[in-house]
């Protein structure tokens, strides 16, 4: 079976195609992925439209796929950005301490943290400070996903409860005004 015109064009121009996609997508590995998609498409399709210029047709196809890819990526980026905003405060580069809790409160929380079991602390540390996902943590520590989830929940629950205790004590000892 003879390669179609377009497959031949692909073999002939694949490096130019990769360079083109790389520029469009801003990433060589993404470009390789899309180029591979193009190739698979060409392989699966028996009948190709009559084209006089295979190279031009391939580049048009690559441009469309790249645009689709960017659109999906943009939507995914929007979702990720929104989820990120639900979790993290915006970084405030001028005053990174703006969102930090007051020193006394932190000291109080620190003691609550010290009371947590070591595994729970390790799991939370990997998640909060090292950005590891729950499956990654489960794998790294050789424990089940459910355990990871429970540990994370215990840690958060402990923090929130300790903070409430700390804040509730404000009215009791007559130091409600706090420090500036």
């Amino acid at each position: 079976m003879r390669d179609s015109l377009l497959l031949r064009a692909f073999h002939e121009h694949q490096w130019e195609l990769l360079r083109f996609l790389g520029r469009r997508l801003g990433s060589h590995s993404l470009a390789a992925d899309v180029a591979h998609d193009i190739y698979v498409k060409l392989l699966r399709t028996d009948e190709h439209p009559t084209v006089s210029d295979g190279r031009a047709y391939l580049f048009g196809m690559a441009a469309n796929l790249a645009t689709d890819h960017l659109r999906v990526e943009a939507r995914r980026g929007e979702i990720l950005a929104e989820a990120d905003g639900f979790v993290w405060h915006e970084a405030d580069e001028l005053s990174p301490e703006r969102h930090a809790l007051a020193r006394a409160e932190l000291a109080y929380l620190e003691r609550a943290i010290a009371g947590l079991p070591p595994r729970c602390r390790r799991v939370f540390h990997l998640n909060r400070y090292e950005g590891k996902t729950q499956p990654e943590i489960a794998e790294a520590l050789g424990i089940g996903l459910t355990t990871v989830y429970k540990d994370l929940k215990t840690a958060i629950d402990t923090l929130v409860k300790a903070r409430r205790r700390f804040r509730d004590s404000d009215g009791r000892d007559g130091d409600g005004h706090g420090k500036a």
Binding site: W88, H99, R103, A114, Q134, L152, K153, D157, L159, D173
Partner: protein, 345 residues
């Protein structure tokens, strides 16, 4: 009839909301939620202000604990209980013990004086400053201790209490609130208990002064030894912000007076403020911040009380100006010995 709910139901409702908020947070914090999940999260959050409040609470704590990373690492090495004493501080301490001595004699006397007078303080101190040095120390509970010149503190922290001994000199404390542990500062044989607060404790050999900048402090003197948990034999006064009290070793707190807070805390901003002190006392105050010793060879009783404002960086200039305005001469015998004398005498 929401208001008629039993407290038990309210607790349960709170627990359910907390539970849901934590689940949502963990879902959003790790992994990649889908657009549908985001939409149902927003729906849940907007359905009830308590949902939003519970969720925001988690988010605030999550973001606010950036500085606590070390607390989570179980393998973290324990803090050293005591810090090594800084060698540089020895000189200032030792030299303060010198009387009028020549340069060579002073050099020999340094070690001797340090050994005989200040070794107990050095051994007990967890943190100290040399003459002219000021330092802010963050205590294990997050409280701050600002040490003034030539000062030393020792820490006795446990789960049940926070105790600081002012071994010498002066320190200002900004106390981290901790509902479970009182914060005590002992100086000489008296004790000051912070009830949430910023205050200054100063000892000068035979007397200690406690000045309160914020909050309330209870001063007990003489206080029971630290090892005893109850039964203070001395008497107590409670100071509010802007008040101060002094006590002598073995004696009860004296009358409570108004504190001049800007002057009492001037050293915190690197300056010295002397208000209406006899010249000899003013010179002694300046002497605290300078290495070596000022010896006054003049009858100063005839002079009016003085007022001094000076930067701690420029004390030598202040000293000369103060002497000059009283017709006195400053003689720097060595770096460690300054004599102020009356040329007419």
């Amino acid at each position: 009839m929401q208001a008629m709910r039993e407290p038990r139901d309210r607790d349960e409702a709170t627990r359910d909301v907390d539970d849901a908020a934590q689940d949502w947070f963990l879902r959003l914090a790790s992994g990649e939620p889908s657009a549908e999940e985001l939409a149902s999260f927003r729906k849940w959050r907007d359905a009830d202000p308590r949902h939003r409040a519970a969720y925001d609470e988690i988010r605030e704590v999550w973001n606010g604990i950036g500085a606590l990373e070390a607390a989570w690492v179980p393998a973290a090495p324990p803090r050293p209980a005591r810090r090594a004493v800084r060698g540089g501080a020895v000189r200032g301490v030792a030299v303060r013990g010198l009387a009028v001595l020549g340069g060579l004699a002073a050099a020999c006397a340094v070690l001797f004086v340090a050994a005989s007078v200040d070794v107990p303080v050095l051994l007990r101190a967890d943190h100290r400053t040399g003459v002219g040095e000021q330092r802010t120390i963050t205590l294990p509970d997050g409280s701050l201790a600002h040490l003034n010149t030539d000062s030393a503190i020792a820490l006795h922290f446990s789960d049940g209490h926070r105790r600081v001994s002012l071994l010498r000199g002066e320190a200002m404390f900004e106390v981290a609130k901790d509902p479970d542990r009182p914060f005590d500062v002992s100086a000489l044989d008296g004790r000051s208990t912070a009830l949430g607060t910023a205050f200054v404790v100063r000892e000068s050999g035979e007397a200690a002064t406690v000045t309160v900048a914020e909050g309330t402090v209870r001063v007990t003197a003489p206080a029971a030894p630290e090892t005893e948990t109850s039964g203070s034999p001395g008497s107590s006064v409670t100071l509010t912000a802007g008040r101060r009290v002094s006590y002598r070793r073995g004696g009860p707190p004296g009358p409570v007076g108004a504190a001049d807070l800007p002057s009492a805390t001037a050293w915190r901003s690197g300056s010295i403020a002397i208000d209406g002190l006899p010249l000899a006392d003013a010179l002694a105050e300046i002497d605290r911040y300078r290495p070596g010793r000022i010896v006054l060879l003049a009858d100063t009783a005839r002079f009016e009380p003085v007022t001094v404002r000076a930067s701690l960086q420029a004390l030598d200039g202040a000293l000369k100006a103060l002497a000059a305005t009283h017709g006195l001469t400053v003689i720097e015998v060595t770096h460690y010995l300054t004599i102020i004398r009356d040329p007419s005498a």
